[in-house]
């Protein structure tokens, strides 16, 4: 197991007067796969940025493997929605810069893992949207991180490419067993990939929904059941006080 646990305790975050998160508690086991869904602007990205230490908590704490987060750490990698690739570096050099040791061999391995072999010398500008996210994933996994945070990485892709990329993310997660946290607008994507789906709303974290479906997941009736359940929480969270676990 490469992944480590993430423990979020009584976490609150304010930007000046604006409160984004209030008293959030989440506990993620090592190597688990969590998805976070919620309306736009509810603070999902902020939560990931707090875990990365790009933002500091107003109060409360975040523990990685039991230790409080107090700096940006190469065990935690972030995949951004807009790939944030250096367009003036070729594909290989972009991945090398993701490696904590700047290792060329590791970069070649990561490019192979995401299916970009043979594109090492290409300029990123010629890559398709899906290929850019592959590159961005390669850069994130090249250092074998213990935690992978994905902030709507597939939001800008078309439906078919998205399915391919979901399969890729699942494959990488199975092979490397990092702890994954995926923010997504797409409930089906959350059900496809995650073991636990957290619904965020109104500054609060709703209890997570445990998705118990065999992988790879098919869009059958059980799948639809979870989808509907999650959507219900998102659309009227006030009616469903304290979500129950589904076992």
């Amino acid at each position: 197991m490469n992944g480590i646990s993430i423990e979020i305790k009584n976490l609150s975050k304010k930007f000046g007067e604006l409160s984004i998160l209030e008293d959030a508690n989440i506990s993620i086991d090592p190597g688990d796969f969590f998805a976070i869904v919620g309306k736009s602007g509810c603070g999902k990205s902020t939560l990931l940025r707090l875990i990365t230490y790009l933002e500091k908590p107003t109060s409360g704490s975040i523990l990685l493997d039991g230790k409080p987060v107090d700096r940006i750490n190469s065990d935690v990698r972030f995949v951004f929605q807009d790939a944030r690739i250096l367009l003036w570096k070729n594909v290989l050099d972009n991945v090398i810069l993701g490696s904590p040791t700047r290792s060329r061999e590791d970069a070649l391995w990561a490019l192979k893992a995401v299916g970009l072999e043979g594109r090492e010398k290409s300029w990123p500008i010629v890559l398709s949207g899906g290929q850019r996210q592959r590159l961005s994933l390669a850069r994130a996994i090249v250092g074998k991180p213990k935690v992978l945070l994905l902030d709507e990485p597939l939001g800008a892709l078309d439906a078919l490419t998205r399915i391919e990329m979901q399969q890729l993310i699942e494959k990488l997660w199975k092979e490397q067993r990092f702890t994954a946290v995926l923010v997504t607008h797409d409930v089906a994507e959350a059900v496809t990939l995650a073991n636990h789906v957290i619904v965020m709303d109104n500054k609060k974290i709703h209890k997570d929904i445990h998705v118990e479906l065999a992988r790879p997941r098919e869009h059958n009736r059980d799948f639809a059941y979870y989808e509907e359940k999650i959507l219900k929480y998102i659309l009227k969270p006030k009616d469903t006080k304290g979500a129950e676990y589904v076992i």
């Binding site: 990698r77 250096l86 810069l97 993701g98």
Partner: protein
């Protein structure tokens, strides 16, 4: 030779066409000149004929004045270009990157740039006299502002997302500068270079015609005074030639530094 090569080197290929196309308008202009002179309307008496133009050019070449003037001007232009662009680039980088320096310098530069150069030229005469130094100074100033403003804009305009990416991925300061800031601001910097090459010629000619006793600008001013149309025409051709040269330099810099932008 492969089939592809044959197509590429075909005399009517698109590439060759575009290469030729850039000369069409200049050639038309010259043709217009020849025709309008040949049809000899008296209104155009002052317009030098192409033949006398060629004579004049050959004369000035052989007696050496033209070559001297071109060299004098080129030296001033080049010195000013180096001083102005190095200063503009370095200061633009520093104020773009550093908040303290920004507060300290940027407002002043932004204020100074709106003052027309000719307005404070008299003051500079007090310090620099009216010789070479003043001309080089004015060229440097013109170049400096173009480079400074565009470099500054390039650094400020860098995608903030890349900043954050660099932090998450543990870029060293060195990597941040050489792999993010420097290449990321390059498109703007090269716009600056293009504009700077333009301001370089403007400032040079303006400064030389006011305060020089040699150089192309001086020659142009004298020719204007004495209505020596053939000289004025020749100088126009020289300007056009240097303009084309500047453009070629700027384009090849772009082709090299922005090669990642070409698909």
């Amino acid at each position: 030779m492969t089939a592809q090569n044959t197509i590429k080197s075909h005399p009517f290929s698109e590439e060759n066409f575009l290469r030729a196309a850039q000369w069409i308008i200049p050639i038309l202009l010259v043709t217009l000149w020849v025709i309008s002179k040949a049809s000899a309307s008296f209104k155009l008496q002052l317009l030098p004929s192409p033949v006398s133009e060629i004579h004049r050019t050959v004369d000035m070449f052989t007696d050496g004045t033209l070559v001297d003037y071109v060299f004098v001007s080129a030296r001033r232009a080049f010195t000013g270009l180096i001083i102005g662009s190095v200063l503009g680039y370095v200061l633009g980088m520093i104020t773009g990157l550093n908040k303290t320096f920004n507060a300290f310098l940027n407002t002043t530069v932004q204020m100074l740039r709106t003052i027309p150069m000719l307005a404070y030229q008299p003051i500079m005469i007090i310090f620099l006299g009216i010789g070479d130094e003043l001309i080089v100074f004015m060229v440097s100033m013109g170049v400096f502002f173009s480079m400074y403003l565009n470099t500054y804009a390039g650094v400020q305009g860098l995608d903030k997302g890349l900043d954050e990416m660099a932090r998450v991925y543990g870029f060293t300061r060195r990597e941040y500068f050489f792999d993010v800031v420097l290449p990321g601001s390059m498109p703007n910097v090269l716009v600056g270079v293009r504009i700077a090459l333009g301001s370089m010629w403007m400032m040079l000619i303006a400064a030389e015609s006011v305060s020089g006793n040699s150089g192309l600008g001086y020659m142009a001013a004298r020719a204007r005074e004495y209505l020596q149309m053939d000289r004025i025409f020749m100088i126009l051709f020289i300007y056009a030639f240097f303009g084309k040269m500047s453009d070629t330099i700027a384009t090849s810099l772009e082709n090299y530094f922005l090669r990642w932008r070409k698909t």
